[in-house]
Amino acid sequence: VMVLGNDVWLPAASELEVPELNITTMPLLAAAHQLGRFCDNQCKEFMLCHQETLKDPRKCLAEGKAVTECGLEFFRQIKRHCALPFERYLNCFEKRSTSYNRPAYCRREQGPFDDCVRQHLGQERPPPGYFSKIRLHDSQRPRPPVPPAPMPQRIEERDLDSVTEPPGTPDPLFAFNSRDTSEEGQRRAREWLRLNKERTTSRNFVPPAGDSSE
């Protein structure tokens, strides 16, 4: 069910049109270690924003664009300098892929790729455990404030045992007694059903216009 009304701000469609990282899963997973190191700061900023804004997709668009841009830059440089070693590594990765895609099965091709990246991009492969460990990030962006949570108003207590309704008050949840075989009861039932025919058939029921319960 749609819960976004016109008062909820959604960004314009033009703001969401950015040059995307048009690659499939395999190149992304194959180059993930080097890519993660190349775009480490942008990734950390984006994930920090994502965490602090309680996973609001509208709030982290700028950081997301920075992440995609950095990824594009990385693959541009790879294509310019390191195309062949990367292609060999990617072929090995793709052909030996299973339910668990392990870079360990392609070490022979990974060596030249790592050397090429070290030579042209000037970065070493991150050490084992680099991405698994918790990494701290110091950001210049101030922490977004969490809106305050107002406590619901307290209902004053009443001694409900002393309060009684006047006799003859109709029960709002009682329509009629279907087991009442007397003529009066049956007449009452038939009349109620006649008056509330629309309400008992759910297909075309439209509730009457009233004030909202907010």
Binding site: L10, L16, A32, H50, K55, K65, Y100, N101, F131, S212
Partner: protein, 153 residues
Amino acid sequence: MDSHPGGFKQEMPPKGGFKPIDFVRKQIKRPWRGHLLIAGTYLWTYAGITLWITPQRQRYYYQKQEAQEVRIAAWPFVLAERNRLYLKHLIKLRDAESELMKDVPDWKVGHWFSTPIFHNPRGLWIDPLLYGFYALNSKKDYKYRRFFHHYFV
């Protein structure tokens, strides 16, 4: 046989008589290699554990961790793109809803006839339910997504 009358040979003591009986208590001869064998077993086990099996297991667990790290490193790129696509689809849904219900009286977009769906005093972000998110898709698409976990992990 002719030399054995009666057909059997009589058992007699050997020539020179029996040797004297040695009744003094003596120690049992134990094989002196036994300790070495046990010690060798322990040493071989220790060497195998430290030099072979432990690095083998570490390599296996490291390979698993590396595969997981690949996904951790690639996640921000996927998430950024996914959020953008998600917002594009939400815009499309909201526009479609306002267009569809513009002639219906007392209908507010994102509400049920002027009643809000969720109580949200803080104005937090709420995702629409799956059924509404797939409003512009076929029932088959919705079922494919709803029971995705039946076929994929």
